[in-house]
């Protein structure tokens, strides 16, 4: 139990996880559990606000929630204990504590529920909406002080940010000299985050770019036939095929799947294909499909649907956001013809797909019209060379040209 910081072996602390390479702090905006709740591996514990979005965080151990260790809205470092949990009976040798009534183990007795557990916040405006509820005065004051309203905990009616909230935040920021309030996930700050990451990519990663045209006629026909007999909710979109094809290709060409760490490439065991999803309010997020090489096409599609819905509503799970090993960007049918991608550090490659165009195409000795997608590879020249990239692209093309094997 590497997340235990408590000498009392009957208890362990749940720490604020890192939800991305760039995250070093965050704040709990909502508890998803209450004191006394029994939680199991994979249960959602809280919603954590990071620079990118609000993310549900999961727990990896079973236990009973004893105590919340941080306040809603408090800015905390990654690794800070946020919830104290009591181990389930089975994990303790020789004790038979009931879930709620531990009898006399050392350590602090559980405080009464109502006293120790911050209640879940009252119903509030949806924090994910673009418009943050705030009074005109609060807006004006925040503007004058260059404070980001989304960083200010609202205490007014319906959770609206009011004057007192702005003044409190301004005072706190002045007192600590913290610049934290400016670093948050508004479209502007998301822009700043993207700017920082992309600048780093272009500064540190010697990119090389390759392109390959792929005839997606067979894929279109196969998908059309396959989807014709399915209800709309079970239909597979081309994007899922792209992820699946890249996943399969990355499994074969592992030098493109992983991270550049210090001075060498570290191929990853799992193939987690991230998908760039643009947000209506601006900016983009890149949650991934875990183990894309080992999921069926339907499973990839199912997860992709989840990711898009969660991304657009701002409810991405932490486990979808961390540990991406390669990224796919798909411009869609209204996009550009091809994309010269920028790698998301510390990954090693990004595969881009342009729109499908009806183009003259030579098959045998005949010129015909086929739907063509240009696949591009942006790869880290420190890790691979053009010949490797060509083979990687060829494998991707092969999978897309043989959709029945996807």
């Amino acid at each position: 139990m590497n997340d235990s910081t408590d000498l009392d072996v009957s208890c362990f602390d749940y720490l604020l996880p890192s939800l991305g390479a760039d995250m070093d702090e965050g704040r709990v905006v909502e508890w998803r559990v209450g004191a006394g709740d029994t939680v199991h591996r994979g249960d959602l514990m809280a919603v954590v606000e990071t620079e990118k979005s609000d993310i549900d965080i999961e727990i990896w151990h079973d236990g009973v929630v004893e105590e919340f260790l941080v306040e809603i809205g408090e800015l905390i470092d990654v690794g800070t204990p946020i919830v104290r949990l009591r181990r389930l009976d089975a994990e303790l040798s020789g004790t038979s504590d009931s879930a709620r009534a531990p009898s006399g183990p050392p350590g602090p007795p559980p405080a009464p529920t109502e006293a120790s557990a911050p209640l879940p916040p009252a119903p509030r405006f949806d924090r994910h909406e673009e418009r943050i509820p705030a009074s005109p005065l609060a807006r004006r004051l925040a503007d004058e002080r260059s404070l980001d309203l989304s960083t200010i905990e609202g205490t007014g009616p319906h959770g609206a940010v009011v004057e007192a909230d702005v003044r409190r935040t301004a005072t706190a920021a002045t007192a600590t000299g913290s610049s934290a309030p400016e670093r948050q996930r508004t479209p502007a700050s998301m822009r700043a985050l993207i700017a920082e990451r992309m600048s780093r990519a272009n500064r540190e990663i010697p990119h090389y770019h390759l392109a390959r045209d792929i005839d997606v006629g067979p894929l279109d026909a196969w998908l059309a036939e396959r989807n014709a007999s399915r209800p709309i909710t079970e239909r597979v979109l081309p994007a899922a095929c792209l992820i699946r094809a890249v996943g399969l290709a990355a499994a074969k060409h592992r030098e493109f799947n992983g991270a550049w760490v210090d001075d060498h490439a570290e191929p990853a065991d799992s193939i987690n294909v991230a998908m760039a999803i643009s947000l209506r309010r601006g900016g983009l997020v890149t949650p991934h499909v875990e183990a894309a090489d080992r999921r069926s096409l339907d499973e990839v599609m199912e997860r992709l649907n989840e990711l898009v819905a969660a991304a657009r509503s701002g409810n991405l799970r932490a486990s979808w956001m961390t540990g991406s090993t390669i990224t796919v960007t798909h411009l869609g049918d209204t996009g550009a013809d091809l994309v010269h991608g920028v790698i998301s550090p510390p990954q090693l490659a990004l595969v881009g797909f342009g729109r499908a165009r009806r183009r003259p195409w030579v098959i045998e000795d005949l010129v015909t019209i086929r739907p063509i997608v240009t696949a591009t590879l942006a790869a880290d020249h420190r890790a691979t060379d053009g010949a490797d990239g060509s083979r990687f692209l060829a494998t991707i093309a092969h999978h897309l040209e043989h959709p029945e094997d996807l």
Partner: protein, 338 residues
């Protein structure tokens, strides 16, 4: 009238009821200006339905204190004629509900003549009428329609809420060369308060801060003023500092005073005994929204009477009009729970 109150400076100020103050104002006007006379239903021998003119007939005689038939249109029209002829009539309309029978005279004639005569004929008419609920007088004697008159250019509309304003608004109204309507709230007639006998005519265009506060501004007039002050007392006990502003004048509205208050409190609750829809509270709220938007820390909120004819039954009447606890609850919601 005989009571005395001692203010913090040690000066003794006589107190009187709102009714006594109004009567004293009329008596003073009749005594000091021979152009002044009062007419209305039962104002002479009976002393007025609300006993405001009690004793004046005996003191000044039938020429100065005149009973009229039950014809509001007729006697208001007569008042306009008298005003045009050089007199200074005070016309008493028993309740605001009956003033509707005189709407044509007031809106089409009194309010327009100066304009339509190219400035030749002003109408120095004063109309007094009662307004408001709370005395179980049912739906034809209890409404608050002063907002309708406040809609009309050419009229001045005032609503004294204190005995002192009851005493000293009338001379200002009589001195005004144009029509002034004075709304007296029926529930205030027995309210007792200090009246400075030497104060003299007061202005009719400025709102008054009846209680200073810093957390929100409660904007009221007439019968809602004592309720708002009581609400402010209760709010103070729980740490909410409410400023109570008595509009005094409903037309024109003194937005300078309201805006200055909101600059401090950033929140406003408009309490109106009239109905909400199309009412004066909406006018005030909208104007404050326009003028003070970037100062507001909460929506300008209205508390008005239920949209029903005012009921006769006591408990229903109480429920229909804003009460102290309604004001307190709305104020609390506005500042957030403390």
């Amino acid at each position: 009238m005989s009571d005395l109150t001692t203010d913090p400076t040690g000066v003794e100020t006589p107190t009187m009821t709102y009714r006594e103050a109004m009567r004293e104002a009329i008596r003073d006007a009749l005594a000091t200006d021979e152009r002044v006379f009062i007419m209305g239903e039962d104002v002479a021998d009976y002393g007025g339905t609300y006993a405001v003119t009690k004793g004046l007939y005996e003191e000044f005689g039938r020429d100065r204190v005149r009973n009229t038939p039950l014809s509001e249109s007729g006697f208001v029209g007569a008042g306009i004629g008298a005003a045009l002829g050089g007199l200074r009539p005070i016309v008493e309309i028993m309740t605001v509900n009956f003033s509707l029978l005189a709407l044509d005279q007031l809106v089409n004639t009194a309010a327009t003549l100066l304009h339509m005569s190219g400035g030749q004929f002003n109408v120095p008419l004063v109309v007094r009428t009662t307004t408001g609920a709370g005395r179980q007088l049912a739906a034809q004697h209890s409404h608050s329609l002063e907002g309708w008159f406040a809609h009309v250019p050419g009229l001045k509309v005032v609503a004294p809420a204190t005995p002192e304003d009851a005493r000293w608004m009338l001379p200002t109204a009589l001195a005004d060369p144009n029509p002034v309507i004075i709304f007296e709230h029926s529930a205030l007639y027995n309210e007792r308060g200090p009246v400075d006998a030497t104060l003299g005519p007061v202005d009719l265009e400025r709102a008054a801060i009846r209680r200073a506060g810093t957390d929100l501004t409660i904007i009221v007039s007439a019968g809602m003023v004592p309720k708002a002050i009581e609400a402010a007392d209760q709010l103070a006990a729980s740490g909410v500092s409410a400023e109570v502003i008595d509009l005094r004048s409903l037309r024109p509205l003194d937005f300078d005073t309201l805006a200055a208050s909101l600059d401090c409190t950033h929140r406003a609750l408009v309490v109106d005994e009239g109905w909400r829809t199309g009412g004066l509270s909406g006018e005030i709220a909208a104007s404050l929204g326009e003028r003070c938007f970037w100062s507001l820390d909460a929506p300008v909120t209205r508390l008005a009477s239920a949209e029903v004819p005012i009921p006769y039954a006591k408990h229903l009447e109480t429920a229909a009009i804003p009460q102290v606890y309604d004001i307190v609850a709305n104020a609390r919601a506005l500042v957030g729970e403390r």
